[in-house]
């Protein structure tokens, strides 16, 4: 955590902006903000000073990279560190409580800056997480300053692999599975330290072009768990695996319209426990999926009698599935 330094004067900041973007780009008027309590006050071209470092504020982020269904997130701003020129993401404090629906289940979620700050400290040296640090602003708000990750979403990368599912599964999926195993191990690292991710979704994984690794983003959610502390995280991991193994969601509606013979083989128990319109028992659609992998998928189906309680249990089964994928495809990765 950095400590506030002597206040920066407007002339110094103008000089820094001019040095970074050129004299013509210095805005005629802008606010210098040290208290971010009212994040709507933070506007384009303003400068937020945190821990003595001036950040030149640019656009706000939208869901898809950081956080709710293509809606602007006014508390998440892209900014330029005027000392280094590096692009950063500023996450300002926004306490939010809402009900998330997973299938028919409602779960109370909280947005917690403190939790995200704590996790940032924990994963500072872990390649599979976004990195950043946190600073208390002049009013004591915990602002997270995140490194900007350049690269596409992991699910978009995967959806582009192969000419069809057979080609994808035999030539690309072994590598994808290895990358997924890294992501599950990363979540295990959190769980082993008593932390949850809190919002595991496939659009919260970014492929970092620079480090050539997938990175989990957006871990400011926490939720009220009951008996299973990590159940929500594990369900998110299962949904992602179903997507990866299927090279996209296999939707019941699509099968009904386009592949009626496959649709007719499906039972309710074959569907995803989280999303009733998605098939989890993918072996019925793609018979070459090994039993060991399909068994993992079935843990996330309506027909499941037992559920994973820990990432370790899931990883045990995935290790067997990986060995079978090597046997099937002859590819190590």
């Amino acid at each position: 955590m950095a400590h506030p330094a002597a206040p920066l004067q407007e002339a110094e900041i103008r000089a820094l902006i001019a040095g970074h973007a050129g004299p013509d780009r210095v805005p005629p008027r802008f606010k210098i903000i040290t208290d971010t309590s009212d994040f709507f006050r933070v506007e384009y071209n303003d400068v937020v000073v945190l821990g003595g470092v001036p950040y030149w504020v640019k656009r706000y982020e939208k869901e898809g990279r950081f956080g709710i269904d293509d809606e602007p997130k006014y508390w998440v701003r892209r900014a330029i560190d005027l000392n280094t020129g590096a692009t950063k993401i500023l996450k300002l404090v926004f306490h939010e409580q809402f009900e998330a629906t997973v299938g028919a289940v409602k779960i109370t979620c909280f947005r917690s800056p403190k939790k995200e700050a704590r996790v940032l400290d924990l994963v500072a040296d872990h390649k599979n997480f976004m990195h950043g640090h946190w600073v208390l602003d002049a009013a004591g708000n915990n602002v997270r300053i995140l490194e900007f990750i350049r690269g596409p979403r992991f699910d978009d990368v995967v959806a582009g692999y192969g000419t069809g599912h057979h080609d994808y599964f035999h030539n690309y999926f072994p590598k994808v599975l290895d990358q997924y195993l890294d992501l599950v191990l990363a979540i295990q690292f959190l769980h082993d330290h008593g932390e949850k991710h809190g919002d595991i979704r496939r659009d919260h994984i970014i492929w970092d072009d620079e480090t050539q690794a997938n990175r989990w983003i957006d871990f400011d959610y926490n939720y009220e768990q009951s008996e299973s502390m990590f159940g929500f995280d594990l369900q998110g991991l299962g949904n992602i695996l179903i997507f990866l193994a299927g090279r996209g969601d296999v939707l019941v509606g699509d099968l009904y319209h386009n592949q009626r013979e496959l649709f007719d083989t499906l039972w309710g128990e074959d569907l995803s426990i989280a999303y009733k319109n998605r098939v989890a028992n993918l072996q019925k659609i793609y018979p070459y999926i090994p039993d060991s992998l399909n068994r993992v998928l079935l843990h996330f189906s309506f027909g499941a009698n037992i559920f994973y309680e820990t990432t370790a249990q899931m990883l045990d089964d995935l290790t067997r599935a990986r060995a079978d994928m090597v046997s099937l495809t002859g590819r190590q990765a």
Binding site: V102, A104, I107, K115, N222, S226, E227, F307
Partner: protein, 162 residues
Amino acid sequence: MSEHDFGDLRRRDTERHLLAAVDESDNSRRTVMFLADFFSDSQNVFVTLLSIIPEPSGDFFPTEVERRQWLAEKEAAMRNTLAGYKEILIDAGFQDGRIETRLSIRPCTSIGDAILEEQEKLRCCIVVVGRRGISHSEEFVFGSTSSKILHHAKHCAVMVVE
């Protein structure tokens, strides 16, 4: 110590001591009513009404003051509920001295584990819990306290009240 001193743990190895794990839910009330109906005539049965309040993480509250306020309100409400449950048992014929209420506020990742720890500490011979009747998908996300107790209880019987 009196004949029925509740603090004498050695006695409990030979007595019929039920641990009823309850909260503010309807199924907990049904559990207490079942105990009242089923055991009130048994003069040698002792009941501990136990409630666990998992201490909430500071993550859920903007300030520590709000967290403490939430906890204080939750504790007051639960003490009130426990007193009400005790009344139900007394009205059914239980003697006051055969009922103990116990409220535990603790950091807790599993309520089921916390209940079983209390069972071990108190040496109760039966753990009684209600069943929420949660759906398959709810059990997936949230887990099930009654299932956990059924699968992990040792040296005691488990009674699940539907």
